[in-house]
Symmetry: C2
């Protein structure tokens, strides 16, 4: 097939490839076989994706001689919970899949995070293949091996590092994605520009409509994002250092998402959009970056239709005390100080280890009164 | 303190020490601090152990300046389940323990397996300390990093490899252990002799009463066992080869344990005793070893009071079909063949990769009719 981009993730004996291309899923069986010659496949997918893509996907596996069965979970963040985790584990175990067989995640980040955790714990670790079907999961969650579920105390607090053996990102599959979801995933694409690639951000400002429309511009934006993530993960697989940069916008974002209750009122990428705006505004307030850069970021996110103001949160923004409580759960507050991802400008994010919790509180207090004004 | 034996477990950057000695727990805080200078401790223990050893243990931690809290789970194998797992995870997360803090397992193999799994998944991996309080956990389950819970499809099917940072085996703590439990753990001590150390088996035949009584003979037997396990684990951390030898007696044993329903009618070590007898009898039947060796093994296990005949199982032995069904869940049956640990004599266990399932069935059919005769 033409136009397949291969992005290697260099992790020693846990190395693998991300394959990106239009229509790739039709050849999934062949790619699967090339990497896992003897494995059976236990597909995990969700109730939205199954209707649209499961039959074709299973057919492709079968054509390549891969024995497969499927488990369908309810769509939505609420499935990243203990109950669904237990049910899926039980089905994989009951299906007598072995350590050499593969759990295959066919879906967005919810399916990927849950299925990866299942793959990491059934028989203390099975093979794992990611077939991400949302923009967010293609550029972010399917790469890097973080898996897990939510606890009632916060997002992603329970899980394992479990690298996939293969990631198959079919950019065509995104055509069936609701526009809101595509847009939300786009927030993470923008994130890579903001972390360390100002040129990429500048090109997105010009070409974002093409990325939304599909075709080569989309494939290219996904490939740049994956390369960026792969490089960071290769430097720091277990997040003891640089990998934390990927959390740009996520401390505020997770608080917004948790407060909204994973109900779908705010989806992850929307929360990240708001969180990135807050992180950059906060950087401005701490005299780390210019207001012009922060405005350019906000403008681009707003232009594509992402939320950029707390007042846009359906049901209202969390209170300052809820915010601080949730941030404290997400990040350790040590001697009154927090680790935060701040920025010195577009493409110049950095890890700040001693941000006073009081500065965060004062910033949020002002932001929230603005929002209500 | 005098008479502390240190057994290193050599696993590269995951290496750690097992410390074995009488009264060691009183110094737990100091040992903990030496390995984890800044960590807080979230102790997991069970309802039997907490009344006997928790207060002293917490005091020792406090004396060394370690902040600690405790979670008490119901005693018994039934706690190795999803519900208790979820509850404990929730308490550790709710206690705001970080990745650098430690989950401390104070208890037998049930507490250790569950707590280790919790440590492996909270925030995708916390520090972990084992303080085993049963003979079985001191010589076996606390060493090697296998953690997990049971599924309704079988034992230990869900979990992770998560090595501890330290193992503290206080041989004195075993004085409060019910004799039945001590005896059950002794089955695993015997196992090390049977796998590859005929001299150790011969010495146990002579000195087992001293091991049961306590003092230096007990410490020595535990140290020999730990060295044996440490050597096998260092060779093959993730059980892709030799580590399977540790499953001697466990394929039959797990089936017996699962059939009895983890009710306490048969405890793990008792099932292993029966399983080892079966594995050696089966080896005799396959003309791999002499009936004399098998008889010597049975005699020793019977002498210490361990069950050696299927007819001794309270509630009756599983039927042949139940046995085969459970063995099939435990071990992959490929083209009608099973991988089994067999033996050529005392201290000469080996991995047999192509044991016909039909041979197992025929053997069990005969055994069960004997038992009923
Ligand atoms: N593991 C990581 O490193 C990582 C990184 C970022 C985000 N995440 C996680 O990812 C999750 C968010 O992922 P997401 O945005 O993909 O959410 P998602 O999986 O919930 O997918 C969004 C929605 O789109 C639907 N959908 C998926 N593919 C579709 C398709 N091709 N056509 C039509 N509908 C489709 C889904 O059913 C769902 O309703 C969050 O839980 C977040 O925590 C994880
Ligand atoms: N992870 C591994 O590598 C591995 C290896 C072997 C066995 N195991 C697991 O270990 C478990 C069995 O371990 P176990 O035999 O220690 O069982 P256990 O933890 O249930 O302990 C046995 C009983 O003794 C009590 N007890 C523990 N310490 C005591 C003490 N000092 N004084 C008084 N009572 C005490 C417990 O409350 C329990 O009732 C099984 O679940 C088995 O699967 C794991
Ligand atoms: Zn994200
Ligand atoms: Zn055992």
């Amino acid at each position: 097939m033409d136009g397949i981009v291969k992005v290697p993730v260099a992790l020693g004996e846990r190395s693998y490839d991300i394959l990106i291309g239009e229509g790739l899923a039709a050849d999934a069986g062949r790619w699967f076989r090339a990497v896992l010659p003897k494995a059976r496949a236990c597909i995990i997918t969700d109730s939205n994706v199954s209707g649209r893509h499961l039959v074709a996907f299973e057919k492709s596996l079968r054509r390549a001689g891969v024995t497969a069965s499927a488990v369908v979970i309810p769509a939505g963040e609420a499935s990243k919970c203990f109950d669904v985790f237990e049910q899926v584990v039980d089905q994989v175990v009951g299906g007598r899949y072995e350590r050499g067989d593969a759990v295959v995640a066919l879906g967005g980040g919810v399916v990927g995070d849950l299925a990866g955790f299942v793959a990491g714990v059934v028989r203390r670790g099975m093979r794992f293949v990611q077939v991400p079907t949302t923009l967010l999961s293609q550029v972010d969650s399917s790469v890097g091996g973080k898996t897990g579920i939510n606890s009632r105390h916060g997002k992603n607090l329970v899980g394992v590092f479990h690298q996939p053996d293969l990631v198959l990102a079919d950019t065509k599959v995104l055509d069936t994605l609701p526009e809101r979801e595509f847009r939300a995933g786009y927030a993470e694409v923008v994130k890579y520009g903001l972390i360390d690639n100002a040129d990429f951000f500048a090109s997105l400002e010009k070409t974002w409509r093409d990325v939304f429309a599909g075709g080569p511009a989309r494939t290219e934006a996904i490939a740049v994002s994956c390369r960026s993530k792969a490089a960071i993960v290769a430097r720091d697989e277990r997040e003891t250092g640089d990998r934390a940069l990927l959390n740009l916008g996520h401390t505020f974002g997770h608080a917004i998402e948790t407060a909204a209750g994973y109900s779908g009122a705010v989806v992850h990428g929307e929360a990240v959009s708001l969180g990135m705006v807050l992180a950059h505004d906060f950087s401005v307030r701490l005299n780390q970056m210019s207001p012009d850069d922060a405005n350019r970021i906000r403008s681009h996110l707003a232009e594509v239709g992402l939320p950029t103001r707390l007042s846009e949160i359906p049901g209202g923004a969390p209170s300052v005390s809820t915010f601080m409580e949730l941030i404290g759960q997400d990040k350790k507050v040590q001697n009154g100080a927090l680790t935060f991802i701040l920025s010195r400008g577009i493409g110049e994010a950095f890890i700040a280890k001693d941000v006073p919790a009081e500065a965060v509180r004062a910033f949020l207090t002002d932001k929230l009164s603005e929002g209500q004004a």
